[in-house]
Amino acid sequence: MALREAIAVAFDTLWSHKLRSFLTLLGIIISIWTLVAVVALVQGVNGYVAVKIARLGSNVISIEQYSLQEMTDQKLFRAAQLRNRPLSLREFRFLRAHDRLAAQVAATSSRTIGTLLKAGAHSMTDVRVTGATSNVIDLASFDVLAGRFLSSTDDRHDASVAFIGADVARQLFPGIDPIGQTLTVDGHNCLVIGQASPQGNVFGQSQDSFVDIPLGLYRALYGAQDSLSVQVQAPSAALLPALAGQTRMLMRNIRHLRYQDADNFGIIGADSLMSLWHQLTGIIASVMVGVSFVFLVVGGIVIMNIMLAAVTERTREVGIRKALGARRRDILSQFLVESAVLSSVGGVLGILLAYAFTRVAAALTPLPFTLPWLAVAAAFAISTAVGLFFGIYPAQKAARLEPIAALRAET
């Protein structure tokens, strides 16, 4: 019964000091807002990336000079730099010849920084130039819009031909059909034979700014020391683990690794990409969650401060209530409920703001934003708990007031 009285008083107080309550709650509002919004953001981006990664190529694993762990851990990377050799053309041919489980074995090598494309008066820099075997088209996510992709004949003859992305077509050949035109890749003239359909952006990075040329031509242009990346496709998802095992054994074989030696190459699949991604967003999320907890503590202290002021302001009220029969725990719970109500109202406002944020973000970006209900429930619980915790001291102060002293208080 006294609890309902306490809740009614709490809302009444909140309402009669609207501005003060709002200012008091700002810390809680912002922290709960960031908390829920960050969780929603990470979940949304994860969902988006999962779809994108899955689309990179189905049932494909990639053999690289470094594993993902080695690329994301400085210590591992330094050790791997000494140990891992670039993938060579010989190794690619060996895999193509012996990887019996594979439906396709393709190789690419690419660079972006410092590349220069020219066509007539137009030029582009830092375009991703990829040397590829012709069967890459079977593993890739893009479609041919016009013309054709590299052929096995181009492979064999290291033909000076280029397959270009939509951005390259638009910028170097504005208003004209690029097919049959000449494109200069770092000084070497190539015939444009085909154009990819546009793929759009991932995180603001255009996926259409690329040129594919035959692998042999690429190595002639940029040297043979760049590591290859070998893509191996399994005929079905079920065979992917077996293919990964076989490919790894073949690589260890050709590199003459002994049983106790670690791999000196890396195998990357959609799952390892996804786990790397989760690791990255996990770091971002935990930093943001940490920041929002700092806000939360600050918000809690502000609430404690305002509750201490409220106890002083309402000393006489406490005296009246005590004179009328309120026990210590009645007064204690009244002020505890009040600070809990105060901070959970802040929590609710924060959740509403986060909800608005996800709606706006969902409307403005391709990311599939939803409000994570678990995070909402947790945020509400946390904000209430913060109010309870930081309300303990002021509430105890109120509960311990002597009834006579409280009744004599000037207010």
Binding site: M1, G325, E402
Partner: protein, 258 residues
């Protein structure tokens, strides 16, 4: 009306020490002391007060400021505990109780009426009257029903939804009286109930208290105004923390005589 009881009039056991007085005695104190530490000194506000008040008496406590009148009032009202001595309220030995037990006694046995009304400013008249029932654990419908009944008794039913700042001083004090009576206390403790009121309103409040006495309530009135004290039937004069005189008023003598 019986003659005002003195300590001797209280049935035997009290004189022996610990046993409770009879059921007819609402308030009984025995050698009540209250000592406040003031720096290194100790100041005794009450120095062995012995009083006894029977059911349905109408008693005034008078005394100049600094006489210990307020301290006695606070002890009797269970807002403060005596340093020494015994105090029975409606057969409960309350001088030894802790905070929460005192809260329970205040809730069930005592109805306070203060000089400054002490209403909750943001609560309606009805809610103010309900407040003791909240702490008595009464259900919401019961609270509402009893509060409205109490407001009717003080002719404020129409004003039940007004807040204290929308009521006149006399109306506020009537709300406070309704609140004091809501839990059917053993005693109504009125501390300078007319101190903040003009004379017309004062008369109204005193008439209301008189009516309540006639209805069977026990009333203890604390005042420093002789004419207000005259409304009671017996006056206990406090001086220097002791009972200086304990005598019937003219009205009390009339009631005795007639």
């Amino acid at each position: 009306m019986a003659s005002p009881p003195t300590l001797d009039a209280i049935p035997g056991p009290l004189a022996d020490g610990d046993a409770a007085p009879g059921p007819d005695v609402i308030i009984a104190t025995r050698d009540l002391w209250k000592i406040y530490p003031m720096g290194s000194e100790q100041v005794a506000a009450l120095r062995g007060v012995n009083i006894a008040i029977r059911r349905n008496e109408y008693v005034a406590i008078m005394g100049p400021s600094g006489s210990g009148k307020s301290t006695l009032m606070n002890v009797i009202g269970c807002l403060d505990t005596p340093t020494r001595g015994q105090y029975w309220l409606n057969q409960h030995l309350v001088s030894q109780l802790d905070d929460d037990e005192l809260a329970h006694i205040r809730n069930h046995e005592i109805g306070f009426v203060f000089q400054t009304f002490n209403l909750l400013a943001r609560a309606t008249a009805q809610h103010n009257v309900e407040l003791p029932l909240v702490y008595a654990g009464a259900s919401a419908p019961e609270r509402t029903q009893r509060a409205l009944e109490a407001l009717r008794k003080v002719d404020l039913y129409d004003r039940r939804l007004h807040r204290p700042n929308e009521l006149s001083g006399g109306q506020r004090q009537r709300v406070a009286i309704a609140r004091a009576l809501i839990n059917n206390p053993s005693i109504l403790l009125a501390d300078e109930p007319t101190g903040n009121l003009d004379s017309t309103t004062s008369n109204e409040i005193m008439q209301l208290l008189d009516r309540l006495w006639q209805q069977g309530n026990t009333i203890l009135l604390v005042t420093h105004e002789a004419d207000i004290a005259e409304s009671a039937h017996r006056v206990i004069h406090i001086r220097d923390g002791q009972v200086a005189r304990d005598e019937p008023t003219r009205r009390g003598r009339q009631a005795q005589g007639g």
